[in-house]
Amino acid sequence: MSILDVRDLSVDYLTEDGVALHAVENLSLRVERGCSLGLVGESGCGKTTVMMGLLRLLPEEGRIVNGQVLFDGKDLLQRSEAEMRKVRWREISMVFQGAMNALNPVRTIESQIVEALLLHHIVNDGQAARRRAGELLELVGIPATRGSQYPHQYSGGMRQRAVIAMALACNPRVLIADEPTTALDVMIQAQILELLERLQADLNLALVLVTHDLGMVAEMCADVLVMYGGVAAEYASSDVIFNNPQHPYTQRLLQAFPDLEEPGSTLASIPGTPPRLDDLPPGCRFEPRCQCEWREAICAHRPPPLVEIEPGHRVACHWAARMV
């Protein structure tokens, strides 16, 4: 049984005039214990919404209209808010996008880690909690003595590591890392990745990595889910995604990254922008930007279903489905 199994999750955002915008539609993903999944896609394609949705932390305007989030076989969407509070952080924790913002500027790093420990009764006295906070900081390579400092006294990379330490406070089984390396320079990115990789192996974490960075996914994740405009475009093992992509969007996305073997080749860009949520194309969401030579009339009219074209390789594309 997978530790995290999201089935047909759909999230709407309600505008002020009561119009529902379909931010995420029928998204399914599955993470095995101790494995990792990469969630990639352009900004605004619903990656963070999916993660917030499965933790039930959507903003007020967000509605989960459909689907199941099975954690260890039990549906999180059926839980009460109080039960949910126990699951969050204790079982599924999250490294938030932008470390500076995720830390309260007027409280020490230590006190913010201690808060999680005490709230979940991992330890019950302050002394032990502080000791554990120190251990967690050491685990991510920050001297325990620096726990009594404030976020502004940390460097960017340290803050990110502190946020990771915080996420690990309650020994979660699933860790969601939402763009853990944005706004960090390449060296620090590499450090953070190494850290995540090490922690994942040591603590047997199931890791969901939300990112723009395909290189990071290639390095770390067993499976990759490519999202476009709120739906899944392609879902397969990272080996397949990088070596045999079938969805035109995945193909273009990969062409947009430099290839070490062909340093002289020019990088392709995908003309156009992702669809606006209030103006989604009726057919395939990628159709307006798709330059695939086999594009046909049906692409503009009917949304392609996610089809398993070979074991473990799902694609939402009329053309790719026909090729099987």
Binding site: L55, L57, R88, F96, N101, N104, P105, E115, M166
Partner: protein, 296 residues
């Protein structure tokens, strides 16, 4: 400026605390006076003269500071607590709860405060406690608005979301994560509120609604005014007025400085430093030019 204000306030507070030692006479003591002893101008025994009952004005002034400060501090503390709570709840929960609370605030804000206080005190009686309650219960609206507006922005920050996902309850998020962010503003506002409360107390007393059993600055003004002393005995009228100004000024100086410290945007921008100004300001334009442009 803040330091000057603090020193000014310190002086008043220490005088109020040590009133029995500082004051030359006890204003609550019954005195037997002869007609020659009333309303005497200042002399070495009575530095600020005597009032219409033959009592020492300086001693009354000193004891009066106790009432003013008590009312000022307790009422503004009350206002601070109520205002912060309402502001936090209204800002954090928003929606219907927030709307209802803010309409209550609007409602209290549009009612002219002074007449309302007068009516309430007239009905409830003129005790010190009633005066404190009235000032405190009517003075929290601005703090509530201020706190709410801050909370609205702070609660959208990501650490609040993180705290929620850690499992913190709403109360915990409000008290531990959001409150510390708005506290500096609240304190600055509370200091300014003290002077408002002191002024309100003096106004009530001046209008004859102060606690009649206590010597307060407002009461002194009231007696002096009612007995038509403004022309005849300045030493009876001026000192309490001056004392009120002194305390209010000191608090405003402190409050503004605190405000500037906690709200750096209020500090003048370096480009507005007069030494760096390139364009001449209105004030330094030549006189003829000003006359030419301004209608007479």
């Amino acid at each position: 400026m803040g330091v000057i204000g603090a020193l000014m306030l310190l002086l008043v507070v220490s005088v109020a605390v040590f009133a029995p030692w500082v004051a030359p006479y006890d204003p609550y003591e019954r005195v037997q006076v002869t007609p020659e002893q009333i309303l005497t101008p200042p002399d070495p025994q009575h530095l600020l003269g005597r009032d219409d009952a033959g009592k020492d004005v300086l001693s009354q002034l000193i004891y009066g500071s106790r009432v003013s400060l008590t009312v000022g501090f307790t009422a503004s503390f009350m206002a601070m607590v109520i205002g912060t709570t309402v502001g936090l709840v209204a800002g954090y929960f928003g929606g219907r709860i927030g709307n209802v609370l803010m309409r209550v605030v609007d409602f209290l804000m549009v009612i002219p405060e002074l007449p309302l206080m007068l009516v309430i005190i007239a009905v409830m009686g003129r005790g010190l406690l009633n005066i404190i309650l009235v000032i405190g219960l009517l003075g929290w609206t601005y703090t509530a608005r201020l706190v709410r507006s801050q909370v609205l922005s702070v609660k959208e920050r990501q650490f609040v979301l993180r705290a929620r996902s850690v499992g913190a309850s709403s109360v915990r998020i409000m008290t531990r994560h959001i409150f510390p962010q708005v506290l500096p503003l609240v304190i600055a506002q509370a200091v300014l509120d003290i002077s408002v409360a002191i002024l309100a107390e003096s106004t009530l007393a001046f209008l004859g609604l102060g606690d009649p059993t206590l010597v307060s600055w407002g009461n002194m003004l009231n007696f002096a005014f009612e007995r038509g002393m403004s022309r005849r005995a300045w030493w009876f009228l001026l000192p309490p007025g001056f004392a009120i100004v002194w305390v209010s000024l000191s608090l405003v100086l402190i409050g503004n400085t605190l405000d500037e410290i906690v709200n750096p945007r209020l500090r003048t921008h370096h480009l507005f430093d007069p030494r760096r100004m390139i364009a001449p300001t209105l004030a330094v334009r030549p006189a003829q030019e000003r006359e030419a442009t301004e209608p007479t």
